[in-house]
Amino acid sequence: MTQARNYPLGDPILEVSNISLRFGGVKAITDTSFKVLAHEIRAIIGPNGAGKSSLLNCINGVYKPQEGSIAFKGQVLDRISPNIVARKGISRTFQNLALFKRMSVLDNILVGRQLHMAANFLEVACQLPRARREERENRARCEEIVEFLEIGDIRHTPVAKLPYGLQKKVELGRALATEADVLLLDEPMAGMNVEEKREMCRFILKVNDEIGTTMVLIEHDMGVVMDISDNVVVLDYGKVIAEGPPAEVRSNQAVIDAYLGVAID
């Protein structure tokens, strides 16, 4: 990434300050802080159970941390539910696919447009002009996303019938449809082969480059992390043990120890 970016890194857009999250006796996250810059691609890595998913869940309001605060664009997101966080501009994908199984690919992605649609139920029921216009415009928008992700030929297929890799793509599409400023991607490439991973990386980089979306992604493949991220946060036992550019983090002794001495390739 040497050439000039359309969207150079900006000020912090997401600030996680001293959050702690417990489930009964289990400490999932302990006093964790870090900042994500606008337009950045930030990777979160760490062993299984380190608290990575819990962290994303705290950011978008699925979990409520017992301590600490999370600020988005300088405004504290205090104990608010995921739908409000989404409307403020944070969208996400899930580690274990969370698609709307009985709905088609296009309808899944259209749900991502829901927060851009204002017509109320009476307008929809009677097909008043605003409802029709919104439906038309948002469908067109979703068709663009479908084209971009190269899934046009399956747009009417119910997602439950699709192979895993394609479902992951649809989930990315649904998150993209929200046009959020920040996307939280929980292991978007898990279970994919090299080819699929490369494709996914291409999409992520392209979105980041073309519309400047900030990405926070959890990823295990260090090759991928080295390739696409600007900065990395390393979690272990719910704590940040290292943070910085990928090359720096890779040679950090604490990180190597956390991975039980296994050299990170």
């Binding site: 699925v62 996400r92 899930f94 698609l99 199984k101 927060l115 929809v124």
Partner: protein
């Protein structure tokens, strides 16, 4: 019914379906069906129950909330209509129907509240409360029955623009108009943004919420609209089929029947509501006449009704396991097979460049 939105293209099949439907409902049936039996015992209850099944479909088939209590909302609608007709002079029948639906919708919101906390079988039990509460309320406060002591109140005659609609054909026409007029917005809702938010909540509520959908608003809207449809259906049911108002007509058994209509008809389809209602209504009739023709009354009526229930139970289990989309899906498959050659032709025509 295709999942093509009616408003994007007014898909040609939608328009033809609609025209055929109108011709059948308002020309073929009134001109060819002469016997009152068909109107009073089959067509009228079928359409009323199908409307209630649309309500059940919205909350259960589309939004995935296992609610049981459609008959309670029907009772609310029926008694609301009775009181509106009684106490609001000059209110047209259409207005009474609409307001009955709105009143039932208010109950829907109230008894939809538990859905924000519990789901599945617990929600089913919680929504059953609506059934018992509404019936209890009507029985308890004499005002609702206009202090009638006989237990059964006669429904007022339907009058539209000063003209009474009391013969079976006339009442059938009233019911058909109301049901068609209300089915179209139901289709629009389920195919549009509102339906997508319902189905998103049904399929994966956490993801729906993360996409900006408020679970509270979406679920309560589903309960409200569901109860609206049940309320109007209940009013029609009382005024055109029962021609009387008695709370026992809206007991838990009716709620279960409406639930079964939706399961057998096909969860998450509007035509499933009509198919399911027809099946539940006609099945006992057909079974009875079969019994009579082949066994000449050798089978006892109680045994007959036992057989009926066993077959019902078995069908419901079979559909839940093998075809959750119900008879509506079987019907679609059949139609696809019948018209597959024609469809292939259509597809070829579509691929040709326009102009």
């Amino acid at each position: 019914m295709s999942d093509k939105p009616i408003f994007m293209t007014f898909a040609r099949s939608d328009v033809t379906n609609f025209v055929v439907l109108m011709i059948v409902a308002f020309a073929v049936i009134p001109l060819t069906v002469g016997s009152d039996y068909w109107y009073t015992s089959i067509l009228i209850p079928w359409l009323c129950l199908a409307l209630a099944a649309i309500g059940q479909q919205i909350v259960m088939g589309y939004t995935g909330q296992l609610a049981l209590g459609a008959a309670g909302f029907m009772a609310a609608g029926a008694f609301a209509c009775f009181n509106l007709e009684l106490r609001v002079p000059g209110l047209p029948f259409a207005g009474s129907l609409l307001l009955s639906g709105v009143i039932a919708a208010a109950f829907g919101v109230l008894f939809g509240l538990p859905s924000l906390r519990v789901r599945g079988i617990y929600l089913m039990v919680a929504t059953l409360a609506s059934q018992f509460f509404i019936i209890w309320m009507i029985d308890k406060f004499g005002w609702f029955k206009n202090y009638d002591t006989s237990g059964i109140i006669t429904a007022q005659d339907i009058e539209i623009f000063g003209r009474p609609f009391t013969s079976p054909v006339e009442m059938y026409l009233v019911v058909a108009v109301v049901v068609i007029v209300l089915t179209i917005p139901a289709i629009n809702l389920t195919r549009g943004a509102v339906g997508r938010s319902w189905m998103a909540v049904r399929d994966m509520d956490i993801a729906a919420e993360s996409m900006g959908i408020s679970l509270l608003r979406t679920k309560l809207l589903a309960f409200a609209i569901s109860a609206f449809y049940c309320g109007v259906a209940g009013a029609l049911f009382a005024f055109t089929y029962l021609k009387s108002l008695e709370p026992v007509a809206f007991d838990i058994k009716l709620s279960f029947e409406i639930l079964f209509m939706v399961i057998l008809g096909g969860l998450g389809t509007i035509n499933g509501a009509f198919i399911g209602a027809a099946f539940i209504l006609l099945f006992p009739v057909v079974l009875n006449s079969l019994g009579n023709t082949y066994f000449h009354g050798m089978i006892d009526a109680t045994i007959m009704s036992a057989i009926e229930q066993v077959v019902f139970g078995a069908l419901i289990i079979l559909f839940l396991i093998y075809e959750p989309l119900g008879m509506s899906k079987l019907w679609t498959n059949l139609r696809q097979r019948m018209f597959s050659r024609k469809r292939a032709g259509d597809a070829r025509a579509l691929r040709k460049p326009a102009g």
